[in-house]
Amino acid sequence: MEPATATAKPPKTGRFLWLLLISIIVPVFNVGVHGLIFWFFRDSPLHPVVNALLAVIWGAAGVYSIYWSLNWVVEQYPDAWKRRLLPFVYVGPAVLLLGWLLVLPTVRTLYLSFFDATSSRFVGLANFGAVFTDRLLATALRNNLLWVFFGTILCVSLGLLIAILADRSSFERLAKTIIFMPMAISFVAAGVIWKFIYYYTPEEQQIGLLNAIVKAFGGEPQAWLTMVQPWNNLFLIVILVWMQTGFAMVIFSAAIKSVPDDILEAARVDGAGEIRIFFQIMIPYISGTLLSVTTTIIVFTLKIFDVVMVMTGGQYGTEVVATQFYRQLFMYQNTGYGSTLAIVLLIAVMPVIWINLRQFRREGGF
């Protein structure tokens, strides 16, 4: 396990050279080996199943071996150095990856948002001005507000309602499983499911469920996603509600169960109705949970992308900030607008970042 103990202690200068040697060789060796494996994978001619299997082995064994070998090098150092260096071996890869792929890009995107479409001319805050005046971008902002407002209210209120109903029903587990299940599937698959429900044909026989129901009640079938603007946004929001209510419900359910029974009993004995108990005891008791679920869903709806992309591609007035970001970037090649929209999203979640940090400090942090 510990090769260090096996090596005889060389004299001081020899030891120094030995340390220097392994400190250089081991990282270089790691870079070399994993670089080679990477090249192999990049142009791998193998079947994807074999590829996946090899990749799994490499992912697990490779990452573990990097840590193991670097750890071994540091273990050779004198104790004082060991204690100083080891933490950096452990957090190093995480910090490097986060720095390269999240922190620096955020700064670079902020920088790009002050430049024009091709990132060649400094335009100051002009892009930010355009976000609020350009019709396309303003539509995206308006729709995102619709998403945040209706999506959050519906998810939270339905989640709370179902949690309370389930708590008092005779099939709590089953009901919770059913409501929670849509969270497991992808937005793309959910998009297909709901596209089928909203489907409209000009023909007599409607195969979309919604139009069939409308027809059964004597109504006129509609092309829900394209024609009924701006209400088609609400039809998209229904999909989010279908998927995310389960999340709110599970968390509320746990919170409701933590309300002490004796308080509820006391209120009942005093003659309080269930509705009054709900508003005057339950709600205040779970207000913390209520707040955190609400912020989570707000953040989620701010970044909504997949549903809109799959359902309408952002056409028919359903554009949101994230889809407009994609469109500006890849269709109009406008890096300036693209970056600005990303930064708008970042600014929108700033309050949540602040809440998280405060929460973290209050919970003891370090």
Binding site: P87, A94, P105, M181
Partner: protein, 363 residues
Amino acid sequence: MRRRNGLRRGKGIVNVVLAVICFIWLIPTFGLLISSFRPAADILSTGWWTIFPHKDWKTVERIELSRDTDLRQPIEVRGKTYSDDELRAGAEVEGQRLIWENRRARIVNVQEQKWTSTLRFTLQNYETVLGGKQYKITLPDGGTKTEQGSGMGRSFWNTVAVAVPSTIIPVFIASFAAYAFAWLKFPGRKIIFVVIVALLVVPLQVALIPILRDYTGIGLNGTYFGIWLAHTAFGLPLITYFMYNAVRQIPRDLFESAYMDGATNFTTFSRLVLPLTVPSLASICIFQFLWVWNDYLVALIFLGSLPDVQVLSMNIAGLAGSRGNDWHLLTAAAFVSMLMPLAVFFTLQRYFVRGLMGGSVKG
């Protein structure tokens, strides 16, 4: 006694309301599942709910009119006269309906309302979407059409190749980091961790443009390795935070006795921390795995839609865009992509819920 009855009735209402909500919640998925097994011709001509017994017009008799019947004049069928338009739309008389079967051959169907259900099922849709070959399908009007399979089988394995390493790598890296944050002292520890907490909800859109530029520069675009790295970085803040909370829960004495016994940090980590945090590891692995499995945005930007690398979500989104009316393909394709998440959900539900609750804030 009155009160108890009231409560029981209350419970009855609760059960009914909840059952209705659950029913509504199930219908979309159920409709998809049923549709994916119906032949293409059926999907496109009747709703999936027609598999249930329902009343519909069924032909009970065929009447052949004389060949030279003038369609511009009132047409006589069984002693009554109808116009051509009436027979086209279907004329109801005494509980029966008369409708053209074949206008040119002058054949009229006599139909009655009967209980019926369309119970034709097939695996053809799955064969078509899974394979990459060409298939013949029957259309509603009776004709046939050859269509290209959509290679979902290949996409399925591509998704495995993307999702598994994108789960293992960040969980390893984050666990090591979490151990260091929880039990080792080093300069910058606090500030780095605060940055990680701040990064929890940062929308990943802010990172996409610069990463795309770097990737294009070093040739990582469209490679598995590139998307592993991207998913690793995007998952790291959450997994590190989640694992930090798990590692911190381990009693201090255990660590101290391990150090006393001369265990190095590495052995403490592999022999003590990893085994003790297995439930948390399982939860966060499931979360990250499903997140990557269901991801569309990151795959769209870094992996692209070439058939030999494209993942399930890309494949389905492509189908929905280019063949949006081929419901026999779309339903089967969507269900293929849901297999893995649903399997994980039903077998590992406990960990799954924990993971989702912990991971809900992810950017």
